[in-house]
């Protein structure tokens, strides 16, 4: 009540935020490390998990796993609609597991790393060892809320071997569930979610629209049918207008008209779009994390900053592994 439940999580967030790799000074010190030193440093970052790998993909997964533990931990302090919202939010990891399994099955790779998502779900590593094909996986998904999505999508995946449509369907499904959970919350909380978490998802959606239109060369109608304006932060007309852009340059020009893109001084192109999106997010949410303790936005912001921080760490590891220059790495990193 009155956000009092969020106050109990606030000190935890303040403590955890010290491990985020977003401050220029912190990143500069990491830039000076060599590859081995960097790996040794990263292995000290995990709070509830231990690292025993130098594989970037695995490291990324393990670091992201912390996000799930964060949500689990947060949900212990909450009740009612806030708790239900966080529970739905955590379903993101279940959905990510489905995506990973599907990709592994399509590419005939073994399913070796999945998110650990507690005792409520069977969509995790201990349960999927005997799944060898998409048909097995469809049977496995029976009784879950994802069965119908998989039932509709798997024939097409078998036919053309691409999982893009299915992944977008899963994302749309997730967004709808999130919006439904959000509708039961108070107006103040809805506003805060819109300004942080949905804002973040919306920006990522813009990146996906760019990829769908100009990397995968999908038509306007196809793009809209796959990436509808579920989030609804951008008015429908404007959203459609962006998708209707004929070239990547026009697309960038149109999104530049949004207030939040105004802050970007340099050039934005297809390659730098994602990085700029994360920079906008960093600028928008960094202050909220140490704001008032009675606000939901503190832990919504922490989550977003945590994701950006992981992105920085992975960029650093990959850059150091491939001997990128410090200047080049600085260009790729997102920092204050």
């Amino acid at each position: 009540m009155f956000g009092a439940e969020y106050a109990s999580i606030f000190p935890k967030i303040k403590r955890w935020s010290s491990s985020l790799m977003l401050e220029k000074e912190k990143i500069e010190s990491l830039l000076r490390m060599n590859f081995k030193e960097l790996i040794a440093f990263v292995t000290t970052l995990g709070k509830k998990i231990s690292f025993s790998t130098e594989n970037t993909a695995e490291l990324e997964g393990l670091l992201k796993q912390e996000g799930f533990y964060f949500l689990e931990s947060v949900s212990l302090f909450l009740s009612g609609s806030s708790k239900a919202f966080v529970k739905i939010w955590a379903k993101m990891y279940e959905i990510e597991n489905i995506k990973i399994i599907t990709r592994c099955l399509v590419n005939k790779r073994p399913i070796s790393t999945l998110y650990e998502i507690g005792g409520r779900s069977r969509i995790q590593l201990s349960f999927v060892k005997n799944i060898k094909s998409l048909d097995d996986f469809l049977d496995f998904l029976s009784g879950t809320e994802y069965y119908n999505l998989a039932f509709n999508s798997f024939p097409a995946i078998k036919e053309n071997g691409e999982t893009f449509h299915f992944e977008m369907d899963l994302d749309n499904f997730y967004l709808m569930k999130l919006k439904a959970a959000m509708s039961k919350m108070g107006n103040k909380e809805k506003k805060e979610i819109n300004e942080t978490f949905l804002f973040y998802l919306n920006l990522l959606r813009l990146v996906w629209i760019y990829r769908a239109r100009f990397n995968y060369q999908l038509s306007v109608e196809e793009t809209i049918s796959i990436l509808p304006n579920i989030i609804g932060i951008i008015p429908d007309k404007q959203y459609r207008g962006i998708i209707e852009s004929e070239t990547g340059e026009v697309f960038i020009q149109k999104i530049r008209n949004f207030n939040f893109f105004n802050k970007i001084k340099g050039v934005i192109d297809g390659k730098s779009l994602e990085r700029n999106v994360f920079y906008i997010l960093l600028m928008k949410v960094r202050k909220l994390i140490t704001g008032l303790p009675f606000r939901l936005s503190a832990f919504l912001s922490f989550y977003i900053l945590h994701i950006i921080s992981i992105r920085n760490i992975i960029t650093l590891i990959e850059g150091k592994r491939n001997n990128y220059s410090e200047a080049k790495l600085r260009d790729l990193l997102i920092m204050r």
Binding site: R120, S126, G143, N172, F173, I224, S225, P228
Partner: protein, 651 residues
Amino acid sequence: MLISQRMKKVDILIVKKMADIVAEEIVKFGDFEAIEVSGEKAKRYLLTKESEDVYIHQLMELEKRVSYLMASFSKIAGSFQTASISVSKDMNLLREDEIEENIKSIGNEMLKYYKEMENLKKENEDLEIKITKLNFFSSYKEGLKKINDLEHFSVWFGAIPVTNYDGFVSAMQGIPSTIYSVKVINNNHIILFSAASSVRDKVEQILKNVYFKDYGLPYEAGKDEKSQLIHYAFQLSTNLDQELWMEKKLTDMALKNLAVLQNIKKSIRFYMSRLHLKEEMAFTGMACLFSGWVPASQVKKLRENIERITENKCVFLEQSASEVIMQEGLTPPTKLSNPRILRPFERLVSIFGIPGYSEIDPTIIAAISYVIMYGAMFGDIGHGLAIAFVGILILLIKKFKAFKNFGILFLFIGISSAVFGLLYGEIFGYDILRPIWLRPLSHIMDILTIAIIFGAFMISLGIIISIINNFMEKNFAGLFFSVHGVAGLVFYWSLLYLGYSVLSKKGLPSYFWLIPSFAVLLIIFEKKLERLFSSRKAEQEEENTGVFFGFMEVFESSLSFLSNTVSFMRVGAFVLNHSALMSVVFIISSMSKNPIIRWFIILLGNIIVIGFEGFIVAIQALRLEYYEFFSKFFKTSGRSFEGLGIYKNQS
């Protein structure tokens, strides 16, 4: 009951090849808390350890699968049905390969059921859509013929998943088209729509993206329409019956498998405990050494068991806890030994903390005082018997067996309330009985005075327990000079006597002030005296700080003695509160002339008083136990005994 079970440390040396069977025997025995063999001893005898991480990890994976299956089945069977499943305490140990096989077969059975259910649901969805289609087009017979002849427009009828519907509508906005949503069936939008034939390819692409399922148009509507409708409806009703039957089948399957899964879980825990014990074992080439805490009463039995299974090829050394504390500095764990009937109060104590090995276990004292305080504060024959009745119901109904502790607690406090009700002559708020003792509202001052005397008794009892604890720990400085020692007790009793003399306007004997002054001096110089007795050389700074803290402690404890004693007035206040609350209920009920409404108000008032006041009194009594009583002696320095038995977490 007043002290925890005495412990012994055992060191067992066996032949290495017997490590597995001995570990198994010890896990079955249960009352064994392993102590890590490390440090000097390990170095001296060149002992090495073997990691069991891989096997432990495998078992953890299996346990995770079992937990998920149990959670799913519990959800299906419902919490009440699940609670009624009785698990035999006799171990039906499954082999490790049997565990995996069983989990796999139960998992497959569940998946098979879900698959069948999904197929049935899909079939039903299909039938529902077909029925909707027939109903919908029955009124467009003429229009359908015209649609068939359209050249420039194409018309579709079918289903789009709800998730993809927004995408479909948005995509179709750029195309000349009309969309009519007929109905939503099982997360599918049933739609009729048309678009220009020239853009048919574009539309087909969108439809593919949104998983449109085409049900086609009945161009020859009217033909066998009725018979088809009857056919589909009949099939649907048969399928719905089958769905219900399958749900029942699933519940049966859940109940049947839950008991099996509980046994699997126990077996997994058994093997995990065995592996954890093996991890604590230290090996040489031929021998294996391990140590642990065992309740003294069980040592003989354990020795006999191990000697039997190793055919006397073992060395079994035992040491009393006090020897181990002195020689190795190890602290024994605490295993409380209270009868089953005191278990709910043991829980109340353990929430506050675990008593140290040499501390007094306050469970029995807490139980008696809690029950008395609750009864005194909520004295009413009717209300007490109602609470006791709830307690008996909880104890008798099998489905509530998880709440057995609450049942016992309710029974005790209910009987206590009823007894005090008899003393006050109160039944459901009516003063119709002649009180055996007194009527609270007529003896307000007496009630408050008795509450304070009771408080003084409880605080004194707390200090006396602290003195005994200090004696048992051989902390003589604490025993004589601390605020919760003899000096504190003398000081507290002096304050009580002073208070009594002032209130009763009796004079004090001339030598009176010498007694508290001496006690105060002892408390102030406690640290200094402690060093004097332990002949330690104190530093000047420490001495000054010690005296300063001594002054502060006297000041703080005077205030706390006063506030703690006065705090017990709440016992008396709640006695009066109860009577007053019931009077309010009767006043409100008397406002209505309708006897039914009057009795309804009285009934509702009684329920509210039992529910709310009963709950508040429970909290207040607990508060007095925790803050006024326990704080005087309870150091909570212990840790509970963690035996290897698989029932250790299932009280």
